[in-house]
Symmetry: C2
Subunit: 289 residues, 2 copies
DNA sequence: CGGGCTATTGATGTAACTCAATAAAGGTGG
DNA sequence: CCACCTTTATTGAGTTACATCAATAGCCCG
């Protein structure tokens, strides 16, 4: 079973315990543009005859890699179903989780620049992805303004998401990070039509920790703490959201870090313009477990 | 002097101590496509008559904002000269520095998705920027393949850069972050034709700290420590790089975080393929000041 | 020549990491 | 189906890297 022939060309990154991206054709195989647009939460492209253009589906089983670092780039992927992670791998082989893509998310954008993927995507569950050959996409986009907008828009959205991530890693406490992580998962599930109150984590504590810049123990402890307070219920990978509002407003800013001067300057500047608006005199601070 | 009339529509983010983006026209005013491509380190676009298409320059003085959060988006900027910072501002007015753009960098990509900038860009020195009206750019790109590639490429590059940032924030120690920051600055300066061995920081310790997810004290102390060891020299904002290699290889991974399982799995998988290659038995560890 | 930024440095605190032990879950093969 | 092994999760005790608070001194600018 470990006998995959190592046909890879990449260094440490090679076929894992599970097998390599062997795209088996089966199940529902093709999507048209309309379905693709729906997945991306975009208005369908009117000028495009939806039935003509078809995009192929590919299935991956849990543990399989969609693409590896350094592999040459030629296609983007949209997640049609299933859960994945994308990771960076440093010079020691350590994984750094970058995202947990799920239905509607776009994969592979990082490969455009250098024509090689710079991250690795792995299926955390059985997945169904739609292949978007990049060349084909850009060619099409020349004829269809809306598609062009979509492409730029989706890439920009990805960038904004990462900026938010940087902000979170740079400024929030462990508890706040975990809380936000749960909230954002909950919202994603809601958006996908699942329950936002009760769901299963598809990733390990270790992966969550990597994603949030924390250790798995800290993640575990924080979840337990939230459980104690009654904000959530935790049983292994089953999470129940009991008090979404508390989660949402939970922040314990490492206070003075970026505050102080800047905030005061801003207050000064707006003082007369806005006569003491919503300034939250002392802020909630419902951390402390 | 504080009497700017507050014509803004944004909440806390409004005209600061310095004046608002008042684009004074002067100096060298226009660039053609060839110059733009050079700035972005891209091969010039052959199919484009370089002289016809001109892009306007705009100057900003130290402290001025190029764009603010929420402001409606319609143009990208390329830095022609000068130094800037881009920041996110959270619900309490805290700044989170996202990047320090300089010559050749692209600004404003985050605005494409929602048609509003989601970050704020501020000049840290007098700057000269080139305006790239986004509509104009995309229109052009339909006729000129290379320009289209450039656009996607630059956006993708930006994304990759942010992914690297996330990796750094998620996994590296304070010292490693500061070291890498110095190295990357040094490389940027070299690339711009300045000395890579001696340069001035354009930003405060506070801004560096925000960028790296550290406090200004930690940044200051770390610089002092590097100075003690002789890796660099520090005098206020003047930095001398003494031992670039040491800086480059300085990492003190908070060890087990992401390692352990993953690294071992990988080693196992490649064991036979690569008969014990470069594994650095105990790793350098030249931290300890 | 003040007065506000900015940087440095020290003393102290604590959030999060590390190490370690246990237990529960999940998968595999007999 | 049950023993076995691996992976994952939980929890405790001790450590430490970094933050916090505070005091001083150098810069820069009007």
């Amino acid at each position: 079973m470990f006998s995959t022939p190592m046909s890879e060309l990449r260094p440490a990154v090679s076929a894992s315990s599970s097998m390599e991206a062997g795209r088996q054709r089966q199940g529902r195989l093709w999507s048209n543009m309309k379905e693709v647009c729906e997945l991306l939460h975009l208005p369908a492209i009117s000028t495009l005859n939806a039935e003509e253009l078809l995009f192929q589906h590919v299935q991956f089983k849990t543990g399989q890699r969609i693409h590896t670092i350094g592999q040459s780039f030629d296609t983007l992927y949209i997640v049609n179903s299933g859960f994945l992670k994308t990771v960076l791998i440093d010079e020691f082989g350590n994984e750094q989780v970058l995202s947990f893509p799920m239905k509607g998310d776009l994969l592979g954008v990082d490969g455009i620049h250098s024509r090689h993927y710079t991250s690795e995507a792995v299926a955390l569950s059985d997945c169904d992805l739609i292949l978007l050959p990049f060349k084909k996409l850009t060619a099409l986009s020349r004829a269809h303004l809306e598609l062009e907008n979509m492409l730029y828009g989706v890439m920009s959205r990805e960038l904004v998401r990462e900026q938010a991530m940087i902000g979170m890693l740079g400024a929030l406490s462990a508890e706040a990070r975990v809380a936000r992580f749960l909230v954002s998962l909950s919202e994603r599930f809601a958006q996908m039509g699942y329950s936002s109150k009760l769901f299963n984590l598809r990733m390990t504590r270790h992966e969550i920790g990597s994603y949030l810049g924390l250790t798995l123990e800290t993640v575990s402890r924080t979840l337990s703490a939230f459980n104690e307070i009654g904000m959530i219920s935790v049983d292994q990978r089953t999470i129940g959201i009991k008090d979404a509002e508390a989660l949402r407003s939970l922040r314990r800013l490492p206070p003075s870090r970026t505050r102080g001067k800047s905030v005061q300057a801003r207050l000064r500047a707006t003082a007369r313009a806005e006569p003491a608006t919503a300034e939250l005199p002392a802020e909630p601070l419902l951390a402390a477990y």
